[in-house]
Symmetry: none
Subunit: 232 residues, 4 copies
DNA sequence: GATGAATGAGTGTTCATTCAT
DNA sequence: AATGAATGAACACTCATTCAT
């Protein structure tokens, strides 16, 4: 409960309060009409509950209540619980890719720096927030919701894979790396991200020692990879 | 928690690979089946079903039927479905480490070869069998069974971590690697194992493209790491 | 229970046959639609939907949408879905009898011809239109709306019964039929009408073979009856 | 509430008490094991509730409670509410046809007597009992359960139709009737049965006057038909 | 010990109705 | 008058667990 675990815990508290605050905001009125704001409020509530309790273990009624609306209202904006899950994935992961793709097209430093920046950015923007729990959710409940897994594959895994592949290819094209199998190499990069994810969401709650400092681990992992790819 | 549990644990490796056979066995000799064999048959059936269908999606009735007994009988040996889960994990996990520890103490080749051998051995003995599904199960259901996660941490994660750390230290001591932070490095190795695990048990069913060749990936991952650690 | 209700009742025959037209009408002139026309449009839409989809299966929102208004507006005119049901039945039933009574008082042919004409007319004017569905609705939902059934009995069943009884009595008085129990005989005539009704609205959709030609059946039924009643 | 209506009412009371008695029988013990008796008890309860409250309006829990068991037990014997409906149809209508077919093959009197016997038998064995309500149920809820309608068509309508057709053909073959279209004629016979059915289950509750004496009506109806078919 | 009939708590989704705007 | 966002009651079906036999 110290080191990075504490760090994460602090983050979660903040995130959770963000949600709680928003529901306090409109707890004054009943039947308040907030058509524009509802979907976002519901998505926030759903992310928090899904990540902290699991998808199946979360009742739609709890999501609705947490967003300050009734069960029926949720179905006004999302056709089903699974649809809500997809929307959570879209809002918290998939929708970031356009910006990320652009960001890396405009990146001007060396490719090794770019890789480190990518990994650390992921941690700061996603890994350290509730959004990282989505990946664990998808893995955990994959068996029961194949459609969601397919969605996640198309909207998150592939775009992410492609993004990393382009970065590695840039390194080869610029002569920073010797040519190698970028396909396999991407898996090695992604494995570190998945590792941090699973550590945080599956083990951190129970495992106290062997604590992992995510940022240090990611930097180290990239450095190792980069050394392996460098031209000699 | 003694007697049959020990018995089962001893035969767990065999059971894991002969689930089908064992169920054939007792369909032939109806009354020859010894009472002491029941729990083992139930654990085998449970492992197979939990891994292939998921924990929640597996009905206790299916486990009982698959073991050739009635639903009521299962509850004679395991007080609840959760208890059965714990027993499955206990029976199929920890006991490999003594053998592995000894095996690597006697290893005589180079440390890079040793690392590659470790990874490929894991794949051949565990990763490619149902046993690898346990890790995924633990991750998926971690929220609901913190006690199990702790057990998994002590009996599997730490011994594995220590084993890898000793191997890396051997490489440094023998002058094959330049000195580095072995703690962080181990995570980078384990991340590859976890990656293969999750890929196989969470995504393989739904994700068609970007298919992963586990053995090639593991070899490549080790090579990359090794290059990074080598003395220059 | 006055004003627009009376208005609607007057135009019910027209409405029944021009549901589509009337909805086209108000899509052209957006604001020209008079408020007084609303209830009629709602009743038309309700008749069509109730008959074609069933009462329970019809959503009030669909009725409203079909009439070109919002859900809330429907409840401005009808206090509940049940109230709408009653209004539909009231608006589409009773008013045919004065005309029919007069028509048959002026009929100059033989009584057997008159009976055949009555049955075939019913088919052509009612049976083959949506209006016939009301009878099925009343039968189906009788349990839930006893008040409506009573209304239907007084306004439809009895006038119809009396009309047929007078026709049969005419046949006896004119010496075309031997004297018989006209009360019972009327039931035999009406049974054919009900039969066609139920066939059309309850079974036709699912039952393929044994198809029924309503007009042939009705003619045949009357001929049989008439032969039984004829003087020898 | 007098005449035949009273007669029917008496019948229903008897029927209802049959059901009630059976549930009293095993109300002493909890968790009584009555595997053989359960389906029959559930079918009786279901018939009574479906007929008196309607299919959709009846909750499976009510059926179970009325049979003295829990909700779960019902699903041990019937896979769904719709399946229960079909079983009710089978047990109370469809299963009678073998006996009826045989009975009429062995009938030795004249065909007109046979027809009268058939109609009166129907009234005494089916029409006057709760079983007659099934037909009304199927008609009423046809829209929502097409599969049930199809089942009813195959298991009840067609066998009944064929039975009547064979009887009429027997009359023609024996020279009692002049040749005629038996297909159309059957509809005229069945219409009387349907009429009694709908009268009893849709109108009787609300309509007091114009009371119908079912047995007299059916006899009269048959006599009329027969006169029309006789050879001259 | 073994059985399997019986239990009953738990939940996503629909839709008639309300009411703030 | 008209809207349409919000409500919440209602319900079939599953399955881990119990217990009479």
């Amino acid at each position: 409960m110290n080191g990075w675990v504490g760090y994460i815990t602090n983050q979660s508290v903040i995130n959770m309060q963000t949600t709680t605050l928003s529901s306090d905001t409109h707890s004054g009125h009943k039947r308040e009409r907030r058509k524009e704001a509802r979907p976002g409020e519901l998505l926030d509530a759903a992310l928090s509950l899904f990540v902290n309790k699991g998808f199946s273990a979360t009742k739609v009624e709890d999501v609705a209540a947490s967003a300050g609306v009734s069960k029926g209202t949720l179905f006004l904006y999302f056709s089903s619980k699974e649809d809500l899950f997809k929307a959570v994935i879209r809002a918290n992961l998939a929708d970031h890719f356009p910006a990320w793709n652009q960001e890396f097209e405009e990146f001007e430093g060396s490719t090794p720096d770019m890789l480190e920046y990518a990994m650390v950015s992921w941690w700061q923007r996603i890994g350290s927030t509730d959004a990282s729990g989505i990946t664990k959710l998808v893995m955990s409940e994959a068996h029961n919701f194949p459609e969601v897994v397919e969605f996640y594959d198309q909207e998150v895994i592939r775009p992410g894979h492609e993004l990393f592949k382009r970065i590695l290819q840039r390194g080869i094209d610029r002569g920073e790396f010797a040519p190698f199998d970028t396909e396999l190499a991407v898996h090695s990069l992604v494995s570190a991200i998945l590792y941090v994810n699973m550590w945080k969401h599956s083990l951190a709650c129970s495992v106290s020692k062997n604590a992992l400092n995510p940022e240090a681990f990611l930097r180290n992992h990239v450095h190792l990879m980069v050394q392996g790819w460098r031209q000699r």
